[in-house]
């Protein structure tokens, strides 16, 4: 048996790990995996995962569906790990039934404080929607047109930013909004203390008074579809919706309807419900965004920065090492 060394911990190199879609620049995380496990760096879609996963002890996912059907064929699997705070892409019920541990960085507070990328992306989308950035650039680049009046936008200062979910990212968003001279309101039933410049409101109150609504909550059974038909009816006319959390938090058909009926000013989305299934090209929101300048969609790059990916992968790999260390000793 081949063994690797991590300090004085001896780890079984026969543990097989598949790491799906790891970004190229994660040097430290990659080295830690190679030093401690028998690792394959792969780029599999769902059907390839089903085809190949059987011999692996652990699997590191990207944000793609890891459902019951995969668990059913993953006979050796002991750990599924995700370098994200969200775990909604993983079927947690199936994981428990099969006694597979699910590791995420959800509770790694110290690491997460350094990961600001998703809040920064939310603000980037907000400004881009307000000022029609993608269309303004295309006008200059491909239409030979330099007419500022075509892209008259809206300033943020003086507007009310409604933050749903006053956790790590919601708090960052509040701080950004405050610096931009916005009034900040927040809804979070699990939080008691808010910054002095943040007014805590009920969900309905927030919907009624916000000029911008930004979502910063995990997806679960209570938050799924939280922006539904009823919620859209409470919103101010000309609200802007920003979603960098999960697509399924919003009833997307209602969002599309509200856009088409000009009830809302626009939307900035880094997530779509359909993204979990691989192909977004037919997504009605993507289709809509092709010829409307008030919707800006990015391909789930909220956490995609060199700094945040390096931190997240390094952390999740060390958690996997610890997990196997603990469980091998026990055996």
């Amino acid at each position: 048996m081949i063994s690797g060394m991590l300090g004085d911990i001896v780890i079984d190199m026969s543990i097989r790990i598949a790491c799906n879609n790891m970004p190229d620049h994660i040097d430290e995380g990659r080295k830690m995996l190679i030093d401690n496990f028998s690792v394959d760096f792969v780029s599999w879609n769902r059907s390839q995962i089903i085809e190949h996963i059987a011999p692996y002890d652990a699997f590191i996912t990207s944000i793609s569906l890891f459902d019951k059907e995969i668990f059913d064929v993953a006979r050796q699997l002991k750990v599924v790990a995700t370098p994200s705070t969200g775990t909604d892409h993983i079927d947690l019920v199936a994981a428990e039934k099969r006694q597979v541990a699910v590791l995420s960085i959800k509770n790694e507070t110290e690491y997460l404080a350094k990961i600001t990328s998703t809040a920064e992306q939310a603000f980037a989308l907000l400004l881009s929607v307000m000022r029609k950035l993608p269309f303004a650039f295309e006008a200059v680049r491909t239409h030979n047109r330099w007419v500022s009046a075509d892209f008259r936008g809206h300033s943020l200062s003086g507007k009310t930013l409604g933050i749903i979910g006053y956790g790590r990212l919601g708090k960052m968003m509040a701080r950004y909004g405050e610096a931009f001279g916005m009034n900040i309101v927040a809804y979070d039933p699990y939080v008691d203390s808010f910054a002095p410049y943040v007014m805590s409101l009920t969900f309905d109150e927030l919907l009624r008074c916000s000029d911008v609504i930004s979502l910063h909550v995990h997806l679960n059974d209570t938050t799924r579809n939280m922006l539904n038909k009823q919620a859209f009816q409470l919103m101010k006319k000309n609200v802007v919706i920003i979603n960098t959390s999960r697509g399924a938090l919003i009833d997307e058909s209602e969002l599309l309807l509200a856009l088409k009926e000009h009830r809302i000013l626009g939307a900035g989305l880094d997530v779509l419900a359909s993204e979990l299934y691989g192909d977004i090209s037919d997504d009605p929101l993507v289709q809509y965004a092709k010829d409307h300048d008030n919707v800006v969609i990015s391909p789930h790059i909220g956490g995609v920065t060199f700094e945040s990916q390096e931190l997240a992968y390094t952390k999740i790999v060390s958690m996997i090492i610890e997990w196997f260390d603990k469980h091998n000793k026990r055996e």
């Binding site: 400004l127 000022r131 809206h154 090209s281 391909p299 995609v304």
Partner: protein, 320 residues
């Protein structure tokens, strides 16, 4: 006293009140913006009110036989040939010193920050690829702002807003200005230090002769590698041929601009920078939309209308 004649080529559809104000006190010809008509018509008027993307050059001023004032609802006046106007005793009315009004105008600083974020996150290529049907994110690995060093050149009205944005985003903030300033959490540095210590630079200075091509081969050489540069002031502050060279070599990671050299020309596709943008992903350019938000436009135009009328009636400049 005869009613003055005003030629107005600025779009007042958003601010009908401004049009009412000038019509009450003057005979106004309110026409669409066309530079060749401006040259033809200007001789009949006492005052001209135009937008910054319409040049008031020597050719126009040569025909301006009775012109007393040129009005603009902007802080910048470099679309007007100031020397020629001064020679002819024509007053230029802008909102450059209307500080109380300007305090409420955050639009340009917000635009700078949008470009700053867009450059850090490869936003325009990422959003474009979604519209083409792809959800691939690997090609759009960006940089976090938090932890980086932001250099703000020009700590005036807009620079002061920008340093606050930088602080809120967890950046270390350096400010460079000829005038002394003291802002908590902002270190005052000289220009060379700003160049050599910043990961990202945002330009908020006026276009004056001494600032022409302030960013050139030798200034770019003093910068860190992979710097991000944002310009929402005036295009001519940067030597664009040197900029393009440094973008191409990767010295500058990305450039965001709301202003370019010669943006008044009719055919902007001849701009070297826009030609560069055709086949490179590391530039984002918007068509001088910095101050272009509904609220700032309406407020600026109403005040400009009052200012113009006040000048025509009293010969004095109204300030706020």
């Amino acid at each position: 006293m005869m009613r003055p004649k005003i030629l107005c080529m600025v779009d007042l559809s958003l601010a009908p009140e401004a049009l009412e104000i000038i019509r009450e006190h003057a005979d106004v010809d309110y026409l669409p913006q066309e530079s060749h008509r401006l040259v033809e018509l200007i001789s009949d008027y006492d005052a001209f009110w135009g937008h910054i993307d319409l040049k008031v050059d020597k050719q126009v001023l040569n025909n301006a036989k009775r012109l007393k004032a040129i009005n603009t609802s902007s802080t910048g006046t470099d679309h007007i040939d100031k020397d020629e106007a001064a020679r002819r005793g024509i007053q230029i009315l802008s909102i450059a010193r209307d500080y109380r009004l300007l305090e409420t105008f955050t639009a340009t600083a917000e635009c700078a920050w949008m470009l700053m974020l867009a450059c850090h996150r490869k936003l325009r290529s990422a959003t474009k690829s979604v519209l083409e049907g792809s959800w691939e994110s690997k090609s759009y690995v960006g940089e976090q702002l938090s932890g980086r060093v932001l250099g703000v050149l020009g700590v005036g009205r807009l620079g002061k807003m920008t340093v606050e944005y930088g602080k809120a985003f967890g950046m270390k903030v350096l400010g460079c200005d000829l005038k002394p300033f003291s802002i908590p959490g902002v270190e005052r540095v000289d220009f060379d230090t700003l160049l050599s210590a910043s990961d990202a630079i945002s330009i908020h200075i006026h276009m004056e002769k001494r600032n022409y091509h302030l960013f050139n081969d030798s200034t770019f050489a003093k910068m860190k590698d992979n710097i991000i540069l944002v310009n929402t002031s005036r295009g001519d502050i940067i030597d664009e041929s040197s900029l393009i060279k440094n973008l191409d070599s990767g010295k500058i990671a990305a450039f965001g601009a709301d202003v370019i050299h010669d943006e008044w020309r009719n055919d902007i596709s001849k701009s070297n920078l826009i030609q560069y943008a055709h086949n490179h992903e590391n530039v984002v350019i918007t068509p001088h939309i910095g101050g272009c938000t509904t609220k700032s436009i309406v407020d600026a135009r109403i005040f400009s209308a009052k200012k113009l009328i006040h000048f025509l009636r009293t010969g004095e400049e109204l300030t706020q």
